[in-house]
Subunit: 184 residues, 2 copies
DNA sequence: TTTACTGTACCGACTAGACGGTTTTTACAC
DNA sequence: GTGTAAAAACCGTCTAGTCGGTACAGTAAA
């Protein structure tokens, strides 16, 4: 239906705007007025789609997690390994550095920082990834955990800007871990 | 001077209370009234010591970083290695899991989440640690970076509760990395 | 007629910070 | 030691403003 398409487009636009606001002025100054204005939509229009601020933030988080999950699975399918393909994907995901991961981070960040801060969906998603790595990736669980912790570590270090390593340092680190993984 | 002692005690008390508030109700609901009430002090009294909310948060962050830095150096002095003692300390710091690291995290978390979110001091501190690991620890820089990223990764995963690994998994992971480090 | 909005006005709750006043502690003269 | 004046530490209220959410009347399109 055209309405649904248009509606979905506006809803995505609103999430984009909310992510922009978080990136530009910080999660604490994420207000409905600001998001509506950034999206070129009236406050009433925003509330038509997301009736509460909590709903808006939950949607940001959902989209963030869905996108990351999709990209991880795509990366896992691309590399032709008999085992460790998900661990490999985890490393591939953070190899290059900060492309739009910062954008992706805003969902989690906003949800964590804001009022209720329901990180439940994020915790569930990370738990799923962790299980997939540990139980179903066919490699030593400790190696899988290593890939996961390094991946998440680099990603979170980038998110907060806590002295992120250079691209070269990052590349060497990931090379080192890939050498530990069994042959494809 | 006695004033200084008493004053310092109250200031510490206020920082403790602020950390409690962040832990109990979340960083977004950290208000001056709440902190003052939690500390058993009036709002005016709080503002006497920390004239703005920003100053209070900055002080939380400072104390958090100073404590972590102190503990890291203490751990580094304890282990008798000719090289890699700081990397070893980094791993020791996160081996056990969440003792009071969550408490330690509140400073960074609150600062990041709240209004201005000046993470400058934290970024500087992490940068100092990173340099110390890479340049002065006498081991392969990539191994040093590995210890750092795994340490920070586990710590940040704990902070957000993003499917933290069990104590056993954590122990095996750190054992694996310690095996990679050169003999003491 | 339904969907998808716009635009404005408004309410109640909350909050940072200012401010004037009060108690406690310290410094020092005697 | 004692009195005392000043400084430090602290109290409680008030103000100005923000923000989430509601309400509602209207509009354009399908």
């Amino acid at each position: 239906m055209r309405q649904d398409l248009k509606s979905a487009r506006t809803r995505d636009l609103l999430l984009d705007a909310a992510a922009d606001v978080v990136r530009d002025v910080g999660a604490a100054k994420l207000s409905l007025d600001r998001v509506a204005h950034a999206a070129g939509v009236s406050k009433g229009g925003l509330l038509y789609h997301y009736p509460t601020k909590q709903a808006l933030i939950a949607a940001m988080l959902d989209r963030t997690l869905a996108r990351a999950d999709h990209q991880l699975h795509q990366l896992a399918d691309q590399n032709d390994r008999t085992s460790g393909s998900f661990a490999q994907a985890y490393l591939d995901y953070v190899r290059s550095g900060q492309p739009d991961e910062l954008d992706s981070a805003t969902g989690i960040f906003a949800s964590a920082a804001l009022d209720d801060g329901d990180l439940g969906p994020a915790q569930a998603q990370f738990s799923t990834w962790q299980n997939r790595l540990i139980d179903e990736d066919g490699i030593d669980p400790t190696l899988a955990l290593l890939a996961r912790v390094v991946g998440d570590g680099l990603w979170l270090i980038d998110l907060f800007g806590l002295a992120p390593p250079t691209k070269e340092q990052r590349g060497l680190l990931i090379d080192l871990i890939e050498d530990l993984l069994p042959e494809p």
